[in-house]
């Protein structure tokens, strides 16, 4: 099977943005092409996502970008699969490149959300969006007024704490650690350290979730360029997509059957991706994990197979998930502290792992990192995509 490489990456600063989502996206497309050493005339595929959940998103986003940058493509699609969207895009692009239908694909996502304060101050003006947020959930969840998955995550975390005897401080510590990580990231949304006391004394937004254990929505954009072997310009900086696996459970938000604190799709996607890549979980040097809440982050570490059930809190406490530990998890600061422009989030995760594997992560660098993993999810972790990345150069294999 022909190799697919990530040749270029780009991301904006995370926070509130003044520029229109189109311009944010265009700038990231251009920056990632420069990083890959390619011109628009060499782009053969273009994939993107909506601009946000509350945003009154445009349609035909990729078409407008193709016109703007002069991209004549053999694949073009706006993909909406919630938080997984830009990973789905990457998966599709890899398949088409492997099939030989295209040789390169630009994947971008630009999230520009309606600021929460704006919605709160003008509830009437934005009521149609609040109602739209409510109807994201099925009739039996929406009827109770739900407009975010926060209460569902709260119950999953409560149950996880109950099942494994996990203390509130164990959860709060994750938020503190992720903030420590993001302090080394010049593009992160947050630049002030957090203490355990600050997290523990922040209000309970949905008990047991403290406000500082919950990721805020942000604006941000990112892009990456995928290419076949023949279009790699700089082998010292190309990162190989070793394997991708996608797994979806037959659930939409709350699981009516099964355990509320288990996410089987994560385990399935991780096991399959690792199996296809030929690596074991112990081979992973660095990973970006999609955990929108501190408690969830711990559960994801376990479902991915880094630790046994109920063992992630001790691993975090003992420094096994940070610099100098056995695996570096969310060096970017993760969703909690890098910031969470949801549709762009998977591409931010790829940005981080690609930079780590190139040795370009600056202060955040894990020395000698050579195998990385990216995990993304959608809904209430109803679906997951796991990608394994490495530095393997397949030219030699192809020549044999």
């Amino acid at each position: 099977m022909a190799g697919v490489y990530i040749a270029g990456v780009a991301m904006t600063d995370i926070g509130w943005q003044d520029l229109d989502a189109h311009e944010l996206g265009a700038r990231m497309c251009v920056e990632s092409l420069r990083d890959a050493g390619l011109l628009p005339s060499q782009v053969e595929g273009l994939l993107s996502t909506p601009h946000g959940y509350m945003a009154e998103t445009r349609k035909m986003i990729t078409q407008r970008m193709a016109d703007y940058l002069g991209l004549e493509c053999g694949l073009m699609l706006d993909i909406d699969s919630g938080g997984n969207s830009s990973s789905v895009a990457l998966h599709l692009a890899c398949d088409r490149i492997r099939l030989g239908e295209i040789r390169s694909c630009l994947v971008f996502a630009a999230q520009k959300e309606v600021p929460k304060k704006q919605v709160q101050q003008d509830v009437v003006g934005y009521f149609h969006l609040i109602k739209a947020a409510n109807s994201l959930y099925d009739s039996y969840q929406a009827a109770f007024g739900v407009i975010s998955p926060l209460p569902f995550y709260a119950m999953a975390i409560q149950r996880y704490m109950y099942d494994y005897g996990i203390e509130p401080e164990d959860i709060a510590r994750v938020a503190v650690l992720l903030r420590d990580h993001s302090l080394k990231h010049p593009q992160a949304a947050y630049d002030k350290p957090l203490t355990l006391d600050e997290v523990m004394s922040s209000p309970l937004v949905s008990p047991p979730i403290h406000r500082l254990e919950s990721s805020e929505m942000h604006d941000g954009a990112a892009a990456l360029v995928l290419v076949s072997q023949e279009l790699v310009q700089d082998w010292d900086r190309a990162v190989r997509v070793a394997a991708i696996a996608e797994a979806h459970d037959a659930t939409s938000f709350l699981p009516y059957q099964g355990e509320i604190d288990r996410f089987p799709c994560v385990e399935r996607a991780a096991r399959t991706a690792l199996g296809r890549s030929g690596y074991g979980i112990a081979d992973i040097d660095v990973a970006e994990v999609y955990g929108a809440f501190a408690g969830l982050e711990l559960m994801m570490y376990e479902e991915l197979g880094f630790f046994g059930r109920g063992e992630a809190p001790a691993a975090v406490r003992e420094g096994r998930t940070t610099h100098g530990g056995e695996v570096l998890l969310n060096p970017s600061g993760g969703r909690l502290s890098l910031g969470h422009p949801a549709y762009a989030t998977p591409l931010l995760e790829f940005n981080e792992v690609v930079r780590q594997l190139r040795g370009e992560a600056g202060e955040r660098q894990r020395p000698g990192a050579s195998v990385g993993l990216v995990h993304t999810e959608q809904g209430f972790i109803n679906g997951s995509i796991v990608t394994v990345l490495d530095r393997q150069d397949e030219r030699a294999a192809g020549a044999r």
């Binding site: 109602k131 009827a143 109770f144 407009i147 008990p207 709350l254 509320i260």
Partner: protein, 128 residues
Amino acid sequence: MDTKHYMQDRAAEEFFSRLAEGMFQTTRCSKCGKTHYPPRVVCPHCLNEDLEWVDLPRHGVLMAFTQQEAALRCRKPDVLGMVELDGIGNIFTRIDAPFEELRIGQKVAFDTWTSPDGIALHQFRPID
């Protein structure tokens, strides 16, 4: 408030209108005999469309509970929870008790509840 925006099918309309009359029911396939929750308009096990409405258990076990700050209804101090019903699975419901007095594993019993904006919903109340 208009609830049409979240009524996903005829089964949902039927479920909530039965609930308004005090009935707590779901669908069962008359062909393969499997019970569904949430109710369906077609059996996902055998694809049969001939379904009947049957009673759901009125007692269950509290699996988890929380509160929501931002919501269209059932805002804090209301409590929401997952209740396990024997043979059915977990249902998402309002819990009729102060948050501080609840614990996981408590036995709870069904009741109807009408929200201040006039929506007929279900809730469960601790019985031990």
